[in-house]
Amino acid sequence: MPIVQGSGSTRNEHQKNKGVWSDSGAPAVVANSIIGKPAPLKDSFKKVTGEAVYADDMKFPGMLFSRILRATKPHAKIKRIDTTKAEAMEGVRAVVTGRESDMRFGVLPVSQDELSMAIDKVIYNGEPVAAVAADSEDIAERAIWAIEVEYEPLQEFLKPQDSLKEVAPELQLHDKVEKKHPNTNVHKAVDQEFGDVEGAFKQAASTPSASFKFDGISHGFTEPHAVIAHWDAEERVQLYTPQQVPHYTHRALAKVLDLPMHQIQVIRTTVGGGFGGKSDPFQHEMIACMLARKTRRPVKLTMDREETFLTGRGRHPTEAKMAMAFDKDGKLLALDSDVIIDGGAYGSFGVVSAYYNGVLSNGPYWLPAFRYHGKRVYSNRIPSGAMRGHGSVNPRYCTETLVDMAAVELGMDPCELRLRNFLPPNSITPHHKFRITSTGIREGLEEAMRRSDWKKKWGKLPFGHGIGVGCAWYISGSALPIHWNKLPQSTVHIKIDMDGGVTCHSLAADIGQGSDTMIAQIVAEVIGCRLDRVHVKSTTTDTAPIDLGSYSSRVTFMAGNAAREAAEVVRKDLAAAASKLTGQPAQYFDFAGEEIICRSKPSIRVSFMEALHEAQADRGALIASGSYQSPPLGGEFKGSNAGLSPSYSFSAFICELKVDPDTGFVQPLKIWAAHDCGKALNPLSVEGQIEGSVHMGLGQALTEQMRYRNGQMLNANFLDYKIPTPFDTPDIEVIIVESHDPEGPFGAKECGEGALAPIIPAVGNAIYDAVGVRMLEVPMTPDRVLRAIEAKARERAK
């Protein structure tokens, strides 16, 4: 396992009061028997045998099947809905429409703008309008088409520019829009300026600028949406759903169903991929519950692939104008960016997206002056939201392209230019006060350069063959929770009884990224037991303490820290028991290999079980709780919360590829992906996350795009939405960089999202190296690449 050690940070000042985890001041990883060792994901054995249960795999006695009738217009008034024919059909048990509830919900408290089903108007093609529960899917499907809906079309907003215009109130998609832009369809505008931007551009030696365009991207998880709701005989709602964030769904259900939260249990089923696409509370979750309320029967609602695309929340279609200023030595002076993102029909995570598209450009380079005008608009298209690398991916492509352009203009090696500008560890960014605890980006880039033979290749490969670089950073969890309260962001409970099984409860959702395994590893490491003793229960809100779920790359950092804290409590109990049994002082025990060992006299030791049973005397099961709350961070200005994180990951990728100059086809040959994840708790899983990010990023770089014709998505299927096949995916060499974050659990930071962004500019910059064209539209499809090559040739000919 090739692991590069980064310039780790020391335990800095603000770290002191957090306390070092080990009670004896021992090194962070004591036994080092589990942390840092590749471990298969605990649940993968069930997945390879087909035992793992996904929502659509479940059956309940008396279960009904549901289908949703969706809007066939992008923007229209609903004149009439008549459900009588559907209701009269044999086998139909319930029909619901928007009349069921006018309660609006949404993932962000500031954007409560979704209805379970449209009421007076529909705002995108595919929006739920009504739903049926019936004895079979077949009947439900026929019944939805028996529902009559009469629409009166309204002017459609399909281009972001149209959404900026002032319109009559009835043409506003939502009542609440950005205050600065009343009477429009602007959802959120962010305007920030720090430092002397104008001055910087005046004194700069290089001021590359360009306009970029990005198509919308869909998560493309393989498991289509599916839920089962049951309103049980105790009047409790049981919702089985593959949620990344059961807690937000839990809150939204309580609001929409008008029930206290404790009357609802959200049960996370195995999640067949999420990537941000299963992290909003969803209309179909509400609808299934409403049908269950009406019928008092379990109701299953499984979508097909097209509906899954229509449910959306993917990466925003984006238009960006950006300029950067560098001095003659390649020092970055300023960034000026103007970005419009198309939010589609709902708010979703969009307020955050609007900020992230700007503020996350404050790294991984030291940026003295910054100006950002960002707008997120509503439109009559599929709602956009959070997708892997949320808010950072498209602007990252822009900045990395401009950095490359500056390097060319200044006659510098683009890697060299980047190395001159990286944020150092133990620093605070000048304006947003992002706190950089650890970073290994320098080591990562240098290692990627070395392995790729960068110096021998860049600028020296024959025409059509190129190499390019892209760097990025990403948050390790948002420091501020979406809902303002004093609760910890993660809590983990541990229970150990005389059977010796260690049960951890957490609501951090294992979505395939391996968070259950991560929690088990941390707990096993701290109490020195075998990994297979530890069982993680992370599926139900009844038993798990609240955790804000799997988004914003927060789980390893936050739930990991909570698990570590809980395990330390248990460790203290066990140490006290060992002390009682041996007469040695409790603080001098080490924990490893299922034994509790006296540090000064290693021959004195008690087994895990002995100590456990001693600790249980007179009290029964050992119970412990640990939690995590981000430290107070950031500056003091409006919007200063956005982008704050207790730690950041960093990555540096290099891509070598060939461009066929006659066809515009791009064939990636090899990717070197260096990612600083702080500490690879499980290197196997870290590699898997990085490889997966590269593959997904390559899709956005080269083939994937949500195509529309008017308001209809043209390619809502896996044949036409082009996820790269094995043939389209080159060899990926992962370089794990460890910078040992002082606050991460055992030094760990995120690795699941940050590794997506750099591949896209690495491809773009390699295309430039290969054929001399700057790709300003993403994906870089063959026709676009060819057009750029031809335009360049025409220019040359002039």
Partner: protein
């Protein structure tokens, strides 16, 4: 239009079941036989999640009518690990070839049929063999690792053809 009896074996077990002519094999396996290890990802032949063995060939159960399998030997992911885990299953778990797991049964079934035809595939051959299966999580690298490892183990232990089918 009425149900007809499908007689076949599934994972070595004789099955006799009344099927609608318009039900696919995937429908029948999942809904009637409760073999939910076979997944439906796109339902249109593109993603490979629903791959099963029909008379030893890896095929898409979403594009196969159940009644077209009259007399066939059908193998599903559940049939691979009778008595013990199949080397492919073990290798997929141990090499990190499965993350969210939804595409995994399809990949394993396809790999299994591939190894029967070609017990010692090169990495390029593995790539080619799996080029009809889509995985959104792993970036494929660890899947290739898993197939390589399983192939080696199967050659060394000369694991018999899986599934009694």
């Amino acid at each position: 239009m009425s149900k007809q009896i499908l007689r076949c074996t599934v994972n070595g077990r004789a099955v006799e079941i009344a099927c609608e002519p318009w039900h696919t094999l995937a429908n029948v396996l999942r809904n009637d036989l409760n073999l939910t290890g076979t997944k439906i990802g796109c339902d249109m032949g593109t993603c490979g999640c629903c791959t099963v063995h029909i008379d030893g060939k890896a095929k898409l159960s979403c594009l196969t009518l159940a009644l077209e399998c009259q007399g066939a030997k059908i193998g599903t992911i559940e049939g691979l690990n009778e008595y013990e885990m199949h080397p492919l299953q073990k290798a997929f778990a141990e090499c990190g070839g499965s993350q969210c797991g939804y595409c995994t049964p399809g990949f394993i079934m396809k790999s299994c049929a591939m190894l029967k035809e070609n017990p010692e595939p090169t990495r390029e051959e593995i790539k080619a063999g799996l080029s009809g299966n889509l995985c959104r999580c792993t970036g494929f690298m660890k899947i290739y690792d898993a197939v390589e490892r399983a192939a080696t183990e199967m050659r060394e232990k000369s694991v018999p053809a899986p599934v009694k089918a």
